[in-house]
Amino acid sequence: MSIDGRYPMRTIRFIIQKEFLQIFRNRLMLAFILLAPVIQLVILAYAATFEIRNIDLFVVDQDKSPESRALIDRFSASENFRIIGYSDVESAGDHALLSNDAVMILNLPPHTGRNLVRDGRAPVSLRLDAVDGFSANIASQYFLQIIQSHNEELGSMQWKADSPAHIGITVSRWYNPELNYQSYMVPGILVLLITVIGGFLSGMNVVREKEIGTIEQLNVTPISKTQFIIGKLTPFMILALVMFSFGLLLARFWFEVPFEGSLGLIYLIAATYLLVVLGLGLLVSTITHTQQQAIFITWFVFVIFILLSGLFTPIDSMPDWAQYLTWANPIAWFIDIIRRVMLTGADLRDIWVSYFVLMTYGILLIGAAIARYRKSAA
């Protein structure tokens, strides 16, 4: 019998092989790992949007004059608004607002038309359901824009040409002139997906062997801690990169996200980032006793990282202390890098600081996972 301990890579290969066998054996799981990202990417990209459309408007027209109708027509013609009901009774509006049928009530009081013709000004009232303050704010801006252009058309704007001096403002929107929301969200969502899948799978992996008891059998073999962690890490790295590639294909051909930067760089960064995610997962897995604990800790850490990552709400909008926290947040780093590389074509020279931070995190976490993994209980 020839025992061949000179090639540490060989041992790692057997662990990798075994992990893959287990992953592929659980069809339900495999389907989830491969399909879920695709479905989620599509849903997220369409669902995670702050673009305000179809604002449900209820109109209380107590005037019913040609003037009031002209104003209402403006709203029904706008694609931002959707008129869901008319009435001439004020309480009907209240009802629509309280029962959640409308978010906005436009109230045109009696004599609106007469006031407009006779006095040149007619007060109307708008009430908004401001539970969602952000949307309500934008909705009211859209509303005011329509009123303003209506007024301009009525020829009643008097303060124009008030002063000859005028600052001309032009706006240039770089990288995304049409303000396509998806080009921005899709790269971030890709990050989210590989984070969640990679983090949870690796987080549950080692502790699962502890729960079932097979870890004892591994701990009594001469396999080294480093071999063990690398063997556990590699399958998830490969799996996550396959998922990532699916996501990239979707991003490119379905969402038509521009790829300004180099594809090789994108993969380099993704692989580095995965070291962080998988390292964290494995670290959690080595310090917990049950899969439940592992899930909760992973979940807890990721929820905080994701909420403070700038994916859904801009980092610039956060209070200072939260902005400092993002320095310690690898998800924020990766989202920032990948957006810059994909959308603005940044290269390694532009992002090396962020890349270095990610790399450091990855090495530290994997080192910690190796160090914390105990083959012998003290």
């Binding site: 959640n100 708008l126 009123i147 995304n176 439940q292």
Partner: protein
């Protein structure tokens, strides 16, 4: 009955003995609440901007000062040429560059018009729009001040008074109801309650039962004199208790720390929350009846319950903005209806007279889910 009580006690001990898990179960909702209350926002706060001033005169300096003193921006770079804009964006130094044309001030005074170019990194379209809006507003403000000053100068020099411009036409009065200060905490807290309930009731239940299956202890339970219904009740009861405690902790912190209003009936709120918890527990049971191990239970719960609860319920993203298909899908997400209900109760102060439709839908869901999950559970076990 005695065996049943003993079993329930054991289930409670399971959860409460595991300090680490318990800490997370109670700590997580609070941390999330704090993040939503303080950090997750949609307003501009000290955004990084760069300035490219080809003119460097008094007026461009005044405009720059006005931008920087607004509190919305902080200057991170002075640029010398157009070619630096790309670098600034690619390195993430700034998201917004203000470009003053050369001889800006002189042109404004002599010709009555001068140009500013606002260049935004629109790879984040939300941010770009926000930056544009704030910048344009500040520049317009400055323009008005400047005109005002000039008029005063002209007036004191004996020019004719320019008549005060009063706005006419249709004059709207806009009122923000229910949340006049437009605070995001008011929006997120009800959503967070729905989310935490889904997490504790459905996610944990499905995993805890999957765990018994994985470890083979489920068979031991089934061999005991307890019947399957009792086993299910014993398994879900601790999580029900946890959910209730969590709801009230979140609620109290939200009311005390974030001044989130609670305008409706606490009793109605509690009863309908219980209805939602039942829906969530039934979902958890349904998942646990089809899986064999914790990993699969977790993945299904994650993709099938938690993500829809975050994305398709109106928690963070308004449903009305989504494509029609997703709006239809959102109808089958229980959290969507629960959110309408608790936002109605908490913020609008309405009662069942406005919420009966949503309540009926949720109730129907609970009945269907309970029936199918208990049925599938029995089939699997027998």
């Amino acid at each position: 009955m005695k065996a049943f009580l003993g079993f329930i006690k054991k289930e409670f001990l399971h959860i409460f003995r595991d300090r680490r898990t318990l800490l997370i179960l109670f700590g997580m909702p609070l941390v999330q609440l704090l993040l939503f209350g303080y950090a997750v926002r949609n307003e501009l706060n000290k955004a990084d901007i760069a300035i490219l001033d080809h003119s460097r005169d008094e007026i461009t300096r005044e405009i720059t000062d006005k931008l920087l003193s607004s509190g919305y921006f902080q200057l991170t770079a002075w640029l010398k040429s157009e070619s630096e804009i790309e670098v600034v964006f690619q390195r993430g130094i700034a998201r917004n560059v203000i470009v003053f044309e050369s001889e800006f001030g002189r042109k404004l005074i002599r010709d009555g018009s001068a140009n500013i170019n606002i260049v935004t990194d629109a790879s984040d379209p939300n941010m770009a729009q926000m930056l544009e809006g704030y910048t344009v507003n500040i520049i317009r403000d400055y323009q008005q001040e400047w005109q005002e000053r000039n008029r005063q100068v002209q007036q004191s020099a004996g020019g004719s008074a320019g008549g005060g411009a009063s706005i006419s036409g249709i004059v709207p009065e806009v009122r923000m109801l229910f949340n006049p200060e437009l605070r995001s905490a008011n929006l997120f807290v009800p959503g967070l309650i729905a989310f935490i309930l889904m997490l504790v009731s459905a996610f944990l239940t499905s995993i805890t039962i999957a765990r018994e299956k994985e470890q083979g202890t489920m068979e031991v339970l089934l061999a005991s004199p307890l019947n399957p219904i009792q086993i299910i009740i014993g398994k879900v009861l601790p999580y029900l208790a946890l959910s209730v405690i969590n709801v009230f902790t979140i609620l109290i912190v939200a009311l005390v720390v974030f001044d989130v209003p609670f305008r409706g009936s606490v009793l109605l709120f509690s009863m309908l929350s219980l209805l939602f918890i039942m829906a969530a527990l039934a979902l958890g049971l349904r998942i646990s009846s089809v899986v064999k191990d914790q990993q699969t239970a977790m993945m299904i719960s994650l993709a099938g319950l938690l993500l829809p609860t975050i994305l398709l319920s109106g928690f963070i993203f308004p449903i009305s903005n989504m494509p029609a298909v997703l709006q239809y899908i959102s109808h089958i997400v229980p959290a969507k209806w629960f959110l309408i209900i608790i936002r109605g109760i908490m913020l609008k102060g309405v009662g069942l007279e406005f919420l009966w439709q949503e309540t009926l839908i949720l109730f129907g869901m609970v009945v269907i889910l309970m029936a199918t999950s208990i049925k599938s559970f029995k089939i699997r076990l027998e």
